[in-house]
């Protein structure tokens, strides 16, 4: 007992010594680029085309509110001036990226169109907006390492597009821009099989080769309630965080639902201090609705989008738990009960043996002896 103060003193001394040594600190997270104003295609390490957008892989992105496509850019200043592109799109058919083709704007655009099954290289020009495949005109296929991936109802495409191509039918851009680009959703319409652009973004501009500025990637988390009845309002909850997982307060989030006639904007809400916003939606009929939520980015913040399916009607309202909960409860109660009863029985045996009056006499005799 006399040594206890000494042990405590030694413990305190050792603790102080340990605390005095600087602890291992987590490395600072890598900052990412964004800016206000026109888009940049920063020089950076070549992104990996694997259908997964890693934080920091692309330093520039943009969410187009019309097509609902999130597009990310990263450029490599090599001989082909490769522009790496990632598209996150809800469209099952063709999603197109159109990029200004000639250094001086003349209306010609190089086009990469992607779907789950194919990637095509072509162009549209100022006289005709009809897509023409480069290969049909003797050109070359000039899309670098295209990768596609489907996740639920959303598609992710990654590919490279040379801004200085050896094919005259593709981009011939030697300067740093700004250049026009455009996103579009294209499908086959009409009896004649003519293609038609159903949704096109406004033309946007991008500049090549500017270094990244400080900025953070963001993520949108979408929560949908269990399916309710048709006509019944459902609360859609959206959380927005930056890449350090800090909630982003007072940020606008737009929420939209896909219907048979295109996307229906459900409104824009601002996040609270916890980075959470909510929007109500009352589908008129039963069925499955693709719901999207997007944060369009801002100064020092990249854009992000999230998609989930809302099920309305009897299938969505009932969540079947298998196996039957009562069965599980009964099995657990029986098994656990059996084990605990066995514990108790063992304890009882020893307790009975220790309290046996014959043994008490035996002990007394021993102590007398």
């Amino acid at each position: 007992m006399k040594r206890i103060p000494a042990i405590l003193a030694l413990t305190a001394a050792l603790l102080l010594a340990i605390l005095a040594v600087p602890g291992p600190l987590a490395p600072a997270r890598v900052a990412e680029a964004h800016h206000s104003g026109e888009l940049l295609c920063p020089n950076e390490i070549e992104p990996i085309h694997d259908g997964i957008l890693h934080p920091g892989e692309y330093h520039e992105n943009s969410f187009d509110p019309r097509t609902k496509v999130l597009v990310s850019f990263g450029c490599v200043d090599d001989a082909a001036r490769m522009m790496h592109v990632a598209l996150v799109t809800p469209w099952a058919h063709w999603t197109e990226l159109r990029v200004q083709a000639a250094e001086a704007w003349n209306g010609d655009m190089n086009v990469v169109r992607t779907s789950k099954d194919a990637v095509e290289d072509g162009f549209v020009n100022s006289t005709s907006t009809r897509f023409v495949d480069d290969l049909d005109l003797g050109g070359s296929y000039d899309v670098y390492n295209p990768v596609s991936k489907q996740v639920g109802d959303v598609y992710v495409y990654e590919f490279g597009l040379p801004l200085l191509s050896q094919d005259d039918l593709d981009c011939q851009l030697t300067g740093n821009g700004s250049f026009y680009f455009q996103l579009a959703y294209v499908t086959v319409a009409g009896m004649d099989g003519q293609e038609s652009a159903l949704v096109e973004s406004d033309p946007q501009v991008i500049r090549f080769g500017h270094g990244p500025r400080e900025g953070l990637a963001t993520s949108v988390e979408l929560s949908l309630p269990p399916g309710g009845e048709a006509g019944e309002a459902s609360e859609i909850i959206v959380g927005v965080r930056d890449e350090t997982d800090a909630p982003l307060a007072a940020r606008p989030v737009s929420v939209f639902a896909r219907t048979a006639f295109g996307f229906l904007d459900l409104g824009t809400a601002y996040t609270n201090e916890q980075g959470v916003a909510s929007v109500e939606y009352a589908p008129l009929g039963e069925g499955e609705f693709l719901i999207g939520a997007a944060f369009a980015g801002g100064p020092d913040l990249l854009a992000s989008v999230s998609w989930l399916r809302l099920v309305v009607g009897p299938d969505g309202a009932s969540v079947a738990l298998t196996p039957e909960p009562r069965f599980i409860e009964t099995v657990i109660a029986l098994v656990l009960g059996g084990v605990w009863v066995t514990f108790g029985y063992s304890f009882y045996i020893v307790r009975t043996a220790l309290r046996d009056p014959k043994d008490r006499r035996h002990r007394d005799r021993k102590s007398e002896g």
Binding site: L10, L14, L15, V154, E221, D245, V350, L354, R360, H362
Partner: protein, 437 residues
């Protein structure tokens, strides 16, 4: 020897304590205090002071939880299975094994609380718990296992407590404990029969309980629809892995106590070799399970599986993964296979490598699966902070401290069981011809 006579070699650690022991305890206490300081930091600052995030919400806390639950299987296997199969050579090491079990479960049970961030939310388990949830099964099975293990450890301590109570004065605290356990023990035939019967029942019932505990821990992962987790192999994989790491921990403890408390007479080369061979067999099974698990995932080549396997094999976790496989599974297999290296030193070296590898394995089960994105633009990043490392260090220090203190309160080798073995009609000689007294 009189039945109530204590073996002086086994009682010596209880009677004499050197200054080195106090220094060690002070060092361990300091690390525990650092962990408490880190936890207070976490309580006041929230989980934001850790590297945990929305994507990777189970980091090294849950890795530690699975690891400590794993090594708690040492007691079950060595004591219960060997007792049920009448393997007499087990006797000197049963108490070491059983005490590892109790201490390891007690420490493991703390980690889910730490991982919760707000410990008051544990009450939600009682208020809103659903029996369909594997997490609630885990809670129930761990509580059952801890209770059973305490009972299973305590029962064989009764005769030793009676000897110490009768023949030695070891201070008020220890006498209180001995009285609590063995006040009415006389050593009569009737009492011995009752005790043996109770221990026998507990030995049988504790085996399925222990197996269920680690199976249920594995189900927390296996019943989640997540890449790398949702596999039927996890139940047996976890149970074998738990016994594997449990035996490795026991071997390390045996080597330490043998050397520090001069127990060479009781813990012989035979014990190391027998356990070493058991460890080798389990090592081969673990290699087989590991190969089977990863080969199955790789052969299917689902996109998420490929991303997960790339992260493990060539990505950010590759150094840990290959260190685990080569350093923790393959090298120990060679150390345990060759007669030249199957010495106490070689076996203990293999056990240390295995324990480190099994901790890494738990980490690689938890973190890479959570880091692999469920949606294609949300790859998780996890870097434990000093808070998590400090709490982890504190848990290992607390384990060593409690174990050391236990060895100062009760003989770390069961006196009465060893005596019974020596009084048996035909005692099995040890490999070197050393027969425990």
């Amino acid at each position: 020897m009189d039945e109530m006579e204590a073996d002086p070699v086994l009682v010596a650690p209880l009677r004499r304590t050197t200054w080195r022991f106090y220094v060690m305890c002070a060092g361990l206490l300091a690390v525990v205090a650092l962990g408490v300081y880190a936890y207070v930091t976490q309580l006041s600052g929230g989980l934001a002071v850790t590297g945990l995030n929305d994507t990777i919400s189970w980091g090294i806390y849950i890795s530690n939880f699975v690891f400590f639950i794993g090594i708690s299987h040492a007691g079950t296997l060595i004591s219960a299975i060997l007792r049920v199969t009448n393997a007499d050579w087990r006797r000197p090491i049963t108490r070491m094994a059983e005490s590892i079990t109790v201490i390891a479960i007690a420490i493991a049970a703390v980690f889910p609380l730490i991982d919760l961030g707000r410990p008051d939310r544990l009450l939600n388990v009682f208020a809103y718990g659903r029996l369909q949830s594997a997490i609630l099964w885990d809670f129930l099975s761990i509580a059952t296992y801890l209770t059973g293990s305490i009972l299973y450890l305590s029962l064989p301590m009764i005769p030793d407590a009676a000897i110490l109570r009768a023949k030695h004065s070891l201070g008020r605290f220890r006498n209180f404990l001995y009285n609590l356990l063995a006040k009415r023990w006389t050593g009569s035939r009737r009492q011995k029969m009752g005790l043996e019967k109770a221990i026998g029942i507990m030995a049988i019932v504790i085996i399925p309980v222990a197996v269920s505990v680690h199976t249920v821990v594995s189900w927390i992962f296996g019943m989640t629809l997540r890449v790398g987790w949702h596999t039927a192999i996890y139940g047996p994989y976890f149970v074998v892995g738990a016994i594997f790491s449990g035996i490795a921990t026991l071997l390390i403890a045996m080597a330490v106590f043998r050397r520090v408390y001069h127990l060479e007479k009781y813990i012989t080369v035979k014990h190391f070799r027998n356990l070493g061979l058991l460890l080798l067999a389990l090592d081969i099974v673990i290699i087989y399970f590991t190969l089977s698990e990863y080969l199955t995932a790789a052969y299917g080549a689902e996109e998420q599986d490929v991303a997960w396997l790339n992260a493990l094999w060539t990505g950010p976790f590759s150094l840990l993964f290959w260190s685990m496989v080569v350093g923790g599974f393959v090298v120990p297999a060679f150390l345990l296979s060759w007669r030249r290296t199957r010495t106490i030193g070689g076996i203990v070296a293999a056990a240390i490598l295995i324990d480190v590898a099994m901790w890494v394995e738990r980490f690689l089960i938890v973190v890479p699966s959570m880091a692999t994105p469920q949606v294609p633009f949300d790859w998780g990043v996890y870097q434990p902070t000093w808070v998590e490392w400090s709490i982890t260090a504190a848990s290992f220090a607390a384990f060593a401290l409690l174990y050391a203190v236990f060895s100062k309160v009760f003989p770390i080798v069961s006196m009465w069981e060893v005596r019974e073995e020596s009084q048996a009609p035909a005692p099995a000689p040890s490999v070197e011809g050393e027969v425990p007294a």
